[in-house]
């Protein structure tokens, strides 16, 4: 079996990269090689995984600096003897080795307004046309790998923005509720305030790394931004917002 030179981050913030020579097979993916390392020379190596098929979004890391799923990176794409550097995602606090604390994402998930459906038809069923749900189905493909969150410069370079910016993954979720054909409250742009949409300057880095192929910027963020802009210049809605703000302020 050929050998690969794996440089893996070990430890917490005070840790270091350690080099390991690990055997591999052409048909394998990076995660297999990491697992081989784990069962031999680094038995307490911390790494997350579940499906090994790009479906669960557990094995996110940075491979040679690029945010990726380790289970979808095939070894054939590297040249034998090449050094491969594997680092934990940078945007989240490090727990140990390749495992980071992604709890910030779960906190954001609780901020997204819940879906509230329209009434069913008289026969107790909802009717929707396939064409009308396709955008929503695209958003629902999100596997919560948080690679888009990892790559977004708004928080990667400015952790202090985390309080005011939920990040691309949650723009996708907001869009998915907002554009759901059965959402009864979707016309209310007020639901779009407070998530930090205006911090995004449409660099599209999130779309580039998304393993689920979601066009995060074009299909979620830009339409949401447009709804916000429309709302700001629509005097009736603007007035409505002032009134409702006043109400909730009581």
């Amino acid at each position: 079996m050929p050998l690969v030179d794996l440089k893996v981050w070990r430890g917490d913030d005070n840790g270091e990269y350690i080099s390991y020579l690990v055997e591999y097979d052409e048909g394998e993916v990076i995660l297999d090689v990491v697992h081989r390392l784990q069962s031999t020379d680094a038995q307490d190596l911390a790494v997350r995984w579940n499906c090994k098929a790009g479906k669960c979004g557990s094995c996110s890391a940075e491979v040679n600096g690029k945010p990726s799923l380790m289970c979808m990176q095939r070894m054939v794409n590297f040249t034998p003897g090449e050094e491969i550097i594997i680092s934990p995602m940078k945007t989240f606090p490090l727990i140990k080795d390749l495992v980071t604390d992604v709890s910030w994402n779960y906190e954001n998930a609780r901020k997204v307004p819940a879906f509230s459906p329209k009434k069913v038809d008289t026969d107790g069923k909802h009717r929707m046309q396939q064409v009308d749900i396709e955008r929503g189905q695209e958003f629902h493909q999100c596997i919560e790998c948080y690679l888009c969150q990892d790559v977004c410069h708004v928080i990667r370079d400015h952790p202090e923005n985390k309080d005011n910016f939920v990040g691309p993954r949650f723009f996708v979720q907001i869009a998915s509720v907002n554009m759901h054909p059965l959402e009864s409250a979707s016309q209310k742009p007020s639901a779009l305030y407070g998530f930090g949409l205006d911090y995004c300057n449409i660099t599209k880095c999130c779309t580039e790394v998304c393993p689920a192929g979601i066009k995060i910027t074009d299909n979620a963020i830009i339409p949401l931004k447009e709804r916000l802009v429309d709302d700001k210049y629509d005097p009736v809605r603007w007035l409505g917002r002032i009134i409702s703000k006043g109400k909730s302020g009581k």
Partner: protein
């Protein structure tokens, strides 16, 4: 012994597992006003359910009006070779459609029919197109929908927290709580609970070739049995006929039955559609006998009988096994699954996007142009905790179970799509059952400190040991031997050999030694899971030895036929004074109006 600090919590209802079943149970228990928490080993949203592909079976009649719960019930029982708990199968068939609509009400976006209703697809063993689905990522849709519902209700989730022991009040045979550890730091955590719902999923990780993730170590099966619960049907494990076989790293990863449901067909190395040679008598009258008939059935089910490619999974897995053994396999030891020559590239990419990407990215195969290579992979545990069909309570008071970890619904073999619906039908019932129980329980039972100390000592042992084998090596030995000695085709001789292997591995486990400390240490986590895997392996093998016949997911080379006697018996597996015992129990017979459905018309 060292004093360990233990974090403590109290909940009316504690749900162990955040898959489709656990989430549905927690939502229900909360709705009944019980304080409820969920514990899960992985991050929230990563449970096995997220990987489910093909769909969720429910007789909604959106595609074929003729469909109704009775037909679904009949299909489920026949697929399970009549060993199913009939009442569970009835409840499941009756309630599944409402549970699908409920998911839609919570935001799920299922694929649609032309008139805007939920589209249903064909799957093995189901008479009519019945699986509500979202392309080939139905589990993701279900789990996210439930996850967001749970988040909006504010249900407390302890994620990356593993339960290692259930606590029982021996005098009253009632659940009192559970002990576990946080994966992050290895700190201990104790729950007092009036009721506990086990929803820990499957146990496939004891086999070498499996579609299950690292979580599929059957913790809930083993912990419940150790706590005194009766188990049922543990000999029945489903080998899904179509797992990937190449490249080696993806061996076992699932290829959804939806490929065949949407027109794909199995072929051997001589390009023959070999399933026509493997139609069992039980299904002969409903199965197409020629390729033309099968193909017209795809167009309209009234034009012919169903294709044998969609026989129940046990039949298809055995057929593939025989073809490979007879030397008619594919280059990497499987058979071919061809949809490329039968459907347009656009159709394939639309209906099976995740299969398309999986093969493209992991095997370099374009399934719109070439056939896939597939072979059987350990997929699903039919057996599990024996539960009451109405309430989902086990034989231990206050201990409930739902989802894959519960036994009974699927009998000797599960039909595809019947798991996702099982999760929500019985998850909901378990949530209600546990809430009712908790409400009728005045106070929390005390937890026996001696049991806690014993459990802690056991958990810390791998650090105290020295010079033992490492957990990875022991695990691999278990997987390789289970695959070889207790796989798809079994014999008494090999099963007995496996039993002594288990004894041998249990000894090794006692001296298992891990590196490092308790801080996010997968080696240690695996060392603790070994106990569960070995316990389940023993239950499985002991029951498999007793079942001297072939039925569903249990095929005996030395007893190749199904026997009438065993057709009326379920094996109950339980732990008595520390050792595992198997006892035959007469299956419940169904009422006449249901039995009527099986009279051949």
């Amino acid at each position: 012994m060292t004093d360990y600090e233990i974090e403590e919590h109290e909940y009316d209802v504690l749900v162990i597992g955040a898959g489709g079943a656990g989430l549905r149970a927690a939502i229900e228990s909360l709705a009944f006003g019980c304080s409820t928490a969920i514990v899960c080993k992985s991050l929230f949203g990563k449970a096995h359910t997220v990987m489910a592909e093909g769909g969720m079976a429910a007789a909604m009649g959106n595609v074929y009006e003729e469909d109704n719960w009775k037909v679904h019930f009949r299909d489920t029982m026949r697929g399970g070779k009549m060993l199913n708990n009939w009442r569970m199968a009835q409840i499941h068939a009756q309630e599944a459609p409402d549970r699908v609509l409920e998911l839609e009400e919570w935001g799920a976006l299922f694929d649609r029919t032309e008139d805007g209703l939920i589209l249903q697809r064909d799957f093995g063993g189901h008479k009519y197109a019945r699986l509500a689905h979202v392309g080939d990522s139905t589990g993701l849709e279900m789990l996210r929908t439930e996850q967001q519902k749970a988040a909006s209700l504010g249900i407390k989730v302890f994620s990356e927290c593993t339960i290692n022991r259930l606590m029982v009040d021996k005098k009253t045979n009632s659940i009192s709580g559970a002990l576990g550890y946080w994966r992050e730091k290895g700190n201990l955590i104790k729950f007092k609970a009036k009721a506990i719902i086990i929803a820990t999923g499957g146990l496939g990780k004891m086999y070498a070739i499996t579609s299950n993730s690292w979580e599929g170590t059957g913790d809930g099966h083993a912990m419940a049995m150790m706590a005194g619960a009766e188990m049922v049907d543990m000999e029945f494990v489903q080998f899904h006929p179509t797992g990937m076989v190449w490249p080696p790293s993806v061996k076992g990863i699932l290829v959804t039955e939806g490929v065949r449901g949407d027109g794909g067909t199995l072929r051997n190395s001589t390009d023959k559609r070999f399933m026509f040679n493997y139609i069992p008598e039980m299904f002969a009258s409903e199965t197409a006998s020629t390729e033309d008939e099968a193909d017209s059935w795809y167009e309209d089910h009234s034009l012919g009988r169903r294709t044998p490619d969609l026989l129940p999974r046990d039949e298809v897995a055995r057929a593939i096994n025989s073809e490979v053994k007879a030397g008619r396999g594919s280059p990497h030891g499987g058979v071919f699954l061809d949809i490329a020559s039968r459907r347009s590239p656009e159709y394939i990419q639309k209906r099976l996007p995740s299969m398309y990407h999986q093969f493209k990215q992991l095997a370099g195969v374009d399934i719109t142009k070439e056939p896939m290579e597939v072979g059987p992979t350990c997929h699903y545990a039919m057996g599990g905790i024996k539960v009451n069909a109405e309430t989902a309570q086990s034989s231990v008071n206050g201990l409930f179970a739902a989802g894959e970890v519960a036994g009974g619904l699927h009998g000797a073999n599960r039909l595809g799509g019947n798991s996702l619906s099982d999760l929500v039908v019985f998850g909901r019932r378990a949530g209600k059952g546990a809430a009712d129980y908790a409400k009728n329980t005045e106070s929390f039972l005390p937890i026996d400190q001696i049991e806690i100390d014993k459990a802690i000592q056991n958990m810390m042992m791998p650090f105290d040991n020295s010079n033992g084998e490492n957990p990875y090596t022991i695990h691999k030995e278990l997987q390789d031997s289970m695959q070889k000695l207790a796989g798809i085709i079994r014999t008494e001789e090999e099963l007995v050999q496996m039993l002594s292997k288990v004894e041998d591995l249990k000894k090794k486990m006692l001296s298992v030694t891990v590196e490092g400390n308790r801080w996010f240490n997968p080696g240690w986590h695996l060392a603790l899971d070994l106990e569960f895997m070995l316990t389940n392996a023993e239950s499985l093998v002991r029951a498999a030895i007793e079942r001297k016949e072939s039925r569903g997911g249990h095929t005996r080379d030395d007893y190749p036929e199904a026997s009438k006697k065993f057709g009326e018996i379920n094996f109950i597996i339980k732990q008595v004074n520390g050792s595992i015992k198997v006892e035959p129990r007469q299956s419940d017979s169904m009422p006449d109006e249901l039995a009527e459905l099986f009279k051949d018309k």
